[in-house]
Amino acid sequence: MSFLRRVYIIAWKDVLLDLHTRENVTTLVFFSALILLVFNFALGPDRELLAQVSAGVIWLAFLLAGMLALGRSFLLERENECLEGLLLIPVDRSAIYLGKLGGNLLFMLVAEAILLPLFAVFFNLDLWAALPRLIPVAVLGTLGFAGLGTLFSAMAVHVRAREVMLPLLLLPVAVPVILATIRSTEVILRAGPWAEVAPWLQLMAGFDVIFLTVGVLVFDFILEQ
């Protein structure tokens, strides 16, 4: 079995699990929608204000909910000593990292795909016009966030106060991705020029490459018993 096939199988295991339990995607969707609702209390009904902040609110709802899913990712493996099973697979540890990342990425992207039309209705957005340009932003941004999140999630299960540990580690480090997704989404939603989006995309791509490489390199040290 090739390396990529093993990565795929580890990711597929998580997807299958979720298809049976419906824990991740369902909770992600509802939690994001609730965050959005609560944000609305803070912002009030002013149309113009909402148009200005919609990009930020949408992404914060996605990412905060995504963080919960990331936190559960390795908790599940620990609960029934599944991690020991994963470690027994005769494959480089980085395959486990990439596999778990693949699962998490998929959950977050599916939740985003379900929620975007809903948010477009709430915020009165022209989704069809923005969609082709929004997709690369969403994929690169979510990849960077999930990439670091998967890494820190694997750490947090062995740390006391683990529920707080993941956000504490992830949020400051993920600032470039959070900023880049929000700012580029904001440009896209007001139909701004592509030249304003491109530098953010490059930044996200660079971020993703650097931190996925770091993740692959250091994941071995995290799983070490």
């Binding site: 750490m155 062995h158 949020l171 400051p172 480090v173 953010w200 650097i210 931190f211 770091v214 040290f221």
Partner: protein, 210 residues
Amino acid sequence: MLLAVGLYVGLVLAPPDAVQGDVQRIMYLHLPFVLIAYLAFAIVFLAGIAYLWKRDEWADVLAHSAAEIGVVFTGLVLVTGSIWGKPTWGVWWTWDARLTTTLLLFFIFVGYLMVRALTEERGRGARYAAIVGIIGALDIPIIHMSVVWWRTLHQPSTFLRAQGPAIAPALMIPLFVNFGAFLVLFLFLLVRRMRLEQARREAEALEALT
């Protein structure tokens, strides 16, 4: 001793700034603090790599000590910066690129210390902390770049002057004296902290034996 000389030169001898007057003297603390903090985090980064690679306990002691001192100095940077900012910009805090980056730097390395403190086994804590340190140090330039873009793409003119008047030699010399003084202080603290940490670990090892 050198510290006292540095503070005296900076706070008393150096001429006041043409625009800001005596308030500017806080620069003689602020700038050395920043540089020491960056130096400390560079050490955390390199020692983290060294620890993961060679598993040398000494590298971990070094990283831990440097990170603690770095966090203290970053805190001092934020405090002295605020004190400097209030009379010159009129506010304690502004979401300027450099300020935001420094605040995030502070948070990242507080996270570093927390991972270390809250992990049950020490070996595991040391590995995790090393990874957080490496990621944090690599992230700082990217954070800075993104925050600079964020501020410049949307607010071309901030009320913050990008560059003060070029520093005159009369101000430069006390600045260097202070750099030297705080560097010595940093090295002193680092060595003391490392000895303490090593002693603590030895004590723990002995306790485990009995």
